[in-house]
Protein backbone atom coordinates (compact mmCIF):
# COMPACT_ATOMS: atom_id res chain seq x y z
CA UNK A 1 0.00 0.00 0.00
CA UNK A 2 1.23 3.48 -0.80
CA UNK A 3 0.60 6.25 1.72
CA UNK A 4 1.01 10.02 1.74
CA UNK A 5 2.36 11.28 5.02
CA UNK A 6 2.45 14.69 6.63
CA UNK A 7 4.38 15.46 9.82
CA UNK A 8 3.48 18.73 11.57
CA UNK A 9 6.21 19.91 13.91
CA UNK A 10 5.52 22.65 16.43
CA UNK A 11 7.26 24.06 19.46
CA UNK A 12 6.04 22.85 22.84
CA UNK A 13 3.70 25.16 24.72
CA UNK A 14 5.58 27.97 26.42
CA UNK A 15 8.67 27.71 24.20
CA UNK A 16 9.78 31.03 22.76
CA UNK A 17 9.27 31.23 18.98
CA UNK A 18 11.43 34.11 17.67
CA UNK A 19 10.25 33.62 14.07
CA UNK A 20 6.58 33.93 15.06
CA UNK A 21 7.32 36.95 17.26
CA UNK A 22 9.11 38.66 14.35
CA UNK A 23 6.18 37.95 11.99
CA UNK A 24 3.74 39.35 14.55
CA UNK A 25 5.82 42.54 14.89
CA UNK A 26 6.04 42.85 11.10
CA UNK A 27 2.26 42.51 10.77
CA UNK A 28 1.92 45.24 13.40
CA UNK A 29 4.06 47.50 11.20
CA UNK A 30 1.37 47.05 8.53
CA UNK A 31 -1.23 47.95 11.19
CA UNK A 32 -2.56 44.41 11.53
CA UNK A 33 -3.19 43.68 15.17
CA UNK A 34 -2.81 39.91 15.61
CA UNK A 35 -2.09 37.77 18.65
CA UNK A 36 -0.85 34.24 19.37
CA UNK A 37 1.17 33.99 16.14
CA UNK A 38 2.79 30.62 15.71
CA UNK A 39 4.75 28.82 13.01
CA UNK A 40 4.53 25.12 12.26
CA UNK A 41 6.88 23.12 10.08
CA UNK A 42 5.30 20.54 7.78
CA UNK A 43 7.32 17.73 6.25
CA UNK A 44 5.56 15.70 3.53
CA UNK A 45 6.57 12.47 1.86
CA UNK A 46 5.11 9.24 0.53
CA UNK A 47 6.04 5.72 1.51
CA UNK A 48 5.06 2.08 1.11
CA UNK A 49 3.72 0.12 4.05
CA UNK A 50 1.70 -2.94 4.99
CA UNK A 51 -1.08 -0.95 6.67
CA UNK A 52 -1.77 2.41 8.31
CA UNK A 53 -0.70 1.26 11.76
CA UNK A 54 2.69 0.02 10.56
CA UNK A 55 3.26 3.19 8.56
CA UNK A 56 2.32 5.39 11.50
CA UNK A 57 4.72 3.52 13.78
CA UNK A 58 7.54 3.92 11.26
CA UNK A 59 6.92 7.67 10.92
CA UNK A 60 6.80 8.03 14.70
CA UNK A 61 10.26 6.44 14.81
CA UNK A 62 11.48 8.93 12.16
CA UNK A 63 10.21 11.79 14.34
CA UNK A 64 12.01 10.45 17.40
CA UNK A 65 15.27 9.75 15.57
CA UNK A 66 15.61 12.73 13.23
CA UNK A 67 12.68 14.95 12.35
CA UNK A 68 12.02 16.36 15.84
CA UNK A 69 13.95 17.26 18.93
CA UNK A 70 11.89 15.87 21.82
CA UNK A 71 13.27 18.52 24.21
CA UNK A 72 11.41 21.34 22.42
CA UNK A 73 9.03 19.85 19.83
CA UNK A 74 5.56 18.33 19.61
CA UNK A 75 4.52 16.56 16.44
CA UNK A 76 1.40 15.30 14.71
CA UNK A 77 1.41 12.60 12.07
CA UNK A 78 -1.17 12.55 9.30
CA UNK A 79 -1.40 9.71 6.78
CA UNK A 80 -3.70 8.94 3.89
CA UNK A 81 -3.83 6.26 1.24
CA UNK A 82 -2.49 7.51 -2.07
CA UNK A 83 -5.20 7.54 -4.78
Amino acid sequence: MKYNAEVKISLKKGMLNPEAATIERALALLKYNVKNTDTIQIIKFSLEGENAEVVRREIDEMCQRLLCNPVIHNYEIGISLED
Partner: protein, 216 residues
Protein backbone atom coordinates in the same frame (compact mmCIF):
# COMPACT_ATOMS: atom_id res chain seq x y z
CA UNK B 1 48.11 13.72 22.20
CA UNK B 2 46.41 12.76 18.93
CA UNK B 3 43.22 14.78 18.48
CA UNK B 4 40.57 14.07 15.83
CA UNK B 5 38.91 17.10 14.22
CA UNK B 6 35.63 15.94 12.73
CA UNK B 7 34.71 17.36 9.34
CA UNK B 8 31.20 17.40 7.87
CA UNK B 9 30.08 18.99 4.62
CA UNK B 10 29.69 22.59 5.78
CA UNK B 11 32.21 22.56 8.64
CA UNK B 12 34.22 25.77 8.44
CA UNK B 13 36.17 26.18 11.69
CA UNK B 14 38.16 22.96 11.21
CA UNK B 15 41.42 24.65 10.16
CA UNK B 16 41.18 27.26 12.92
CA UNK B 17 40.79 24.45 15.47
CA UNK B 18 43.73 22.60 13.88
CA UNK B 19 45.90 25.71 14.27
CA UNK B 20 44.84 26.28 17.89
CA UNK B 21 45.48 22.62 18.79
CA UNK B 22 48.97 22.85 17.27
CA UNK B 23 49.75 25.98 19.29
CA UNK B 24 48.56 24.12 22.38
CA UNK B 25 51.02 21.30 21.63
CA UNK B 26 48.60 18.64 20.38
CA UNK B 27 48.89 16.52 17.26
CA UNK B 28 45.61 17.13 15.40
CA UNK B 29 44.29 15.36 12.33
CA UNK B 30 41.14 15.72 10.25
CA UNK B 31 38.54 12.96 10.17
CA UNK B 32 35.72 12.81 7.60
CA UNK B 33 32.12 12.21 8.72
CA UNK B 34 31.97 8.67 7.30
CA UNK B 35 34.80 7.26 9.43
CA UNK B 36 33.42 5.02 12.15
CA UNK B 37 36.59 4.13 14.06
CA UNK B 38 38.26 6.85 16.15
CA UNK B 39 40.07 4.46 18.51
CA UNK B 40 43.53 5.69 17.45
CA UNK B 41 42.79 9.18 18.84
CA UNK B 42 43.13 10.43 22.41
CA UNK B 43 40.50 13.16 22.11
CA UNK B 44 37.90 14.55 19.67
CA UNK B 45 36.96 18.10 18.73
CA UNK B 46 33.83 18.83 16.65
CA UNK B 47 34.41 22.26 15.12
CA UNK B 48 31.91 24.92 14.15
CA UNK B 49 30.30 25.59 10.80
CA UNK B 50 27.00 24.84 9.13
CA UNK B 51 26.99 21.07 8.72
CA UNK B 52 24.46 20.00 6.08
CA UNK B 53 23.35 23.62 5.70
CA UNK B 54 21.71 23.58 9.14
CA UNK B 55 18.77 21.85 7.41
CA UNK B 56 15.99 20.59 9.71
CA UNK B 57 17.79 21.99 12.82
CA UNK B 58 21.43 22.92 13.33
CA UNK B 59 23.32 19.68 13.95
CA UNK B 60 20.36 17.35 13.38
CA UNK B 61 21.69 15.65 10.25
CA UNK B 62 25.33 15.47 11.38
CA UNK B 63 23.99 13.70 14.48
CA UNK B 64 23.04 10.59 12.48
CA UNK B 65 26.30 10.14 10.51
CA UNK B 66 28.66 7.14 10.97
CA UNK B 67 31.35 9.16 12.82
CA UNK B 68 28.89 9.64 15.70
CA UNK B 69 29.32 5.93 16.56
CA UNK B 70 33.06 6.59 16.87
CA UNK B 71 32.40 9.64 19.07
CA UNK B 72 30.14 7.57 21.34
CA UNK B 73 32.92 4.95 21.64
CA UNK B 74 35.39 7.74 22.47
CA UNK B 75 33.09 8.83 25.29
CA UNK B 76 32.86 5.24 26.58
CA UNK B 77 36.66 5.09 26.63
CA UNK B 78 36.66 8.19 28.90
CA UNK B 79 38.47 10.38 26.39
CA UNK B 80 37.63 14.09 26.15
CA UNK B 81 35.15 15.31 23.51
CA UNK B 82 34.67 19.02 22.81
CA UNK B 83 31.98 20.47 20.54
CA UNK B 84 32.29 24.11 19.53
CA UNK B 85 29.32 26.07 18.10
CA UNK B 86 27.88 23.73 15.44
CA UNK B 87 29.82 20.98 17.26
CA UNK B 88 27.95 21.91 20.45
CA UNK B 89 24.62 21.79 18.61
CA UNK B 90 25.55 18.32 17.29
CA UNK B 91 26.45 17.02 20.78
CA UNK B 92 23.10 18.29 22.10
CA UNK B 93 21.24 16.66 19.19
CA UNK B 94 22.92 13.31 19.90
CA UNK B 95 22.06 13.70 23.57
CA UNK B 96 25.67 13.42 24.75
CA UNK B 97 25.08 16.69 26.59
CA UNK B 98 21.69 17.74 28.00
CA UNK B 99 19.36 20.35 26.51
CA UNK B 100 19.27 22.06 23.16
CA UNK B 101 20.75 25.10 21.41
CA UNK B 102 17.94 26.70 19.41
CA UNK B 103 17.08 29.94 17.60
CA UNK B 104 18.37 33.12 19.22
CA UNK B 105 15.61 35.08 20.98
CA UNK B 106 16.08 38.05 18.64
CA UNK B 107 15.90 35.76 15.55
CA UNK B 108 19.24 37.09 14.29
CA UNK B 109 22.70 35.71 13.57
CA UNK B 110 24.89 37.21 16.31
CA UNK B 111 28.63 37.59 15.78
CA UNK B 112 30.44 39.43 18.58
CA UNK B 113 32.95 39.23 21.40
CA UNK B 114 31.47 38.23 24.74
CA UNK B 115 32.60 38.10 28.35
CA UNK B 116 32.07 34.65 29.79
CA UNK B 117 32.18 33.19 33.27
CA UNK B 118 33.90 29.82 33.71
CA UNK B 119 31.36 28.01 35.88
CA UNK B 120 33.27 24.79 36.48
CA UNK B 121 36.88 23.70 36.22
CA UNK B 122 36.20 19.97 36.45
CA UNK B 123 36.24 19.42 32.66
CA UNK B 124 39.61 18.88 30.92
CA UNK B 125 38.86 21.94 28.76
CA UNK B 126 38.35 24.32 31.69
CA UNK B 127 40.81 22.72 34.12
CA UNK B 128 43.41 25.47 33.56
CA UNK B 129 41.05 28.35 34.41
CA UNK B 130 39.95 29.54 37.83
CA UNK B 131 36.34 28.93 38.82
CA UNK B 132 34.28 32.08 38.06
CA UNK B 133 37.14 33.52 36.02
CA UNK B 134 35.88 35.97 33.35
CA UNK B 135 37.27 35.22 29.89
CA UNK B 136 36.75 36.84 26.50
CA UNK B 137 35.73 34.75 23.46
CA UNK B 138 33.56 35.46 20.41
CA UNK B 139 30.20 33.92 19.53
CA UNK B 140 28.89 33.52 15.96
CA UNK B 141 25.57 31.73 15.69
CA UNK B 142 21.86 31.97 14.86
CA UNK B 143 20.87 28.93 16.94
CA UNK B 144 22.63 29.31 20.26
CA UNK B 145 19.88 29.95 22.80
CA UNK B 146 20.33 27.25 25.40
CA UNK B 147 17.25 25.55 26.81
CA UNK B 148 16.77 22.58 29.10
CA UNK B 149 13.77 21.41 31.14
CA UNK B 150 15.96 20.49 34.08
CA UNK B 151 18.35 23.41 34.45
CA UNK B 152 18.33 23.14 38.27
CA UNK B 153 19.57 19.56 37.99
CA UNK B 154 22.46 20.74 35.79
CA UNK B 155 23.33 23.42 38.32
CA UNK B 156 23.25 20.86 41.17
CA UNK B 157 25.40 18.42 39.20
CA UNK B 158 27.97 21.05 38.19
CA UNK B 159 27.24 20.54 34.48
CA UNK B 160 27.22 24.20 33.49
CA UNK B 161 30.59 25.08 31.95
CA UNK B 162 30.21 28.62 30.59
CA UNK B 163 27.69 31.43 31.09
CA UNK B 164 27.50 34.92 29.65
CA UNK B 165 28.99 37.18 32.30
CA UNK B 166 26.98 40.37 31.70
CA UNK B 167 24.76 40.69 28.62
CA UNK B 168 22.83 37.56 27.54
CA UNK B 169 22.85 38.15 23.75
CA UNK B 170 20.85 35.12 22.59
CA UNK B 171 18.34 34.70 25.42
CA UNK B 172 19.83 31.50 26.82
CA UNK B 173 18.20 30.08 29.93
CA UNK B 174 20.22 31.29 32.96
CA UNK B 175 22.66 32.78 30.39
CA UNK B 176 24.13 29.28 29.91
CA UNK B 177 26.32 28.89 26.82
CA UNK B 178 28.36 25.79 27.65
CA UNK B 179 27.36 22.50 29.28
CA UNK B 180 28.96 19.12 29.91
CA UNK B 181 27.82 15.55 30.56
CA UNK B 182 27.67 14.12 34.09
CA UNK B 183 31.30 12.94 33.93
CA UNK B 184 32.54 16.30 32.64
CA UNK B 185 34.39 14.74 29.71
CA UNK B 186 31.95 15.73 26.96
CA UNK B 187 31.66 19.47 26.68
CA UNK B 188 29.55 21.64 24.34
CA UNK B 189 30.26 25.37 24.10
CA UNK B 190 28.74 27.95 21.76
CA UNK B 191 31.61 30.51 22.01
CA UNK B 192 34.69 29.90 19.89
CA UNK B 193 37.89 29.26 21.91
CA UNK B 194 39.87 28.76 18.68
CA UNK B 195 39.00 32.31 17.60
CA UNK B 196 40.52 33.52 20.87
CA UNK B 197 43.69 31.44 20.84
CA UNK B 198 46.30 34.10 19.99
CA UNK B 199 46.62 37.73 21.02
CA UNK B 200 46.69 38.80 17.37
CA UNK B 201 43.05 37.65 17.18
CA UNK B 202 42.05 39.95 20.02
CA UNK B 203 42.37 37.48 22.89
CA UNK B 204 44.18 34.27 23.78
CA UNK B 205 41.74 33.44 26.58
CA UNK B 206 40.47 30.39 24.65
CA UNK B 207 43.82 28.65 24.23
CA UNK B 208 43.54 26.94 27.63
CA UNK B 209 40.59 24.92 26.27
CA UNK B 210 43.09 23.16 23.98
CA UNK B 211 45.98 23.14 26.43
CA UNK B 212 43.60 21.45 28.87
CA UNK B 213 43.10 18.61 26.36
CA UNK B 214 46.87 18.17 26.04
CA UNK B 215 47.30 18.16 29.84
CA UNK B 216 44.52 15.64 30.38
Amino acid sequence: MDVAIIRFPGSNCDRDVHHALEIAGANPDYVWWNQRDLSSFDAVVIPGGFSYGDYLRAGAIAAITPVIEGIKETVKEKKPVLGICNGAQILAEIGLVPGVFTNNSNAKFICKWTDLRVKTTRTPFTSMYDKNEIIKMPIAHAEGRYYDDEIEKLQDQDQIVLAFADENPNGSLEAVTGVCDEEGLVCAVMPHPERASENILGSDDGLKFFKGIVNY
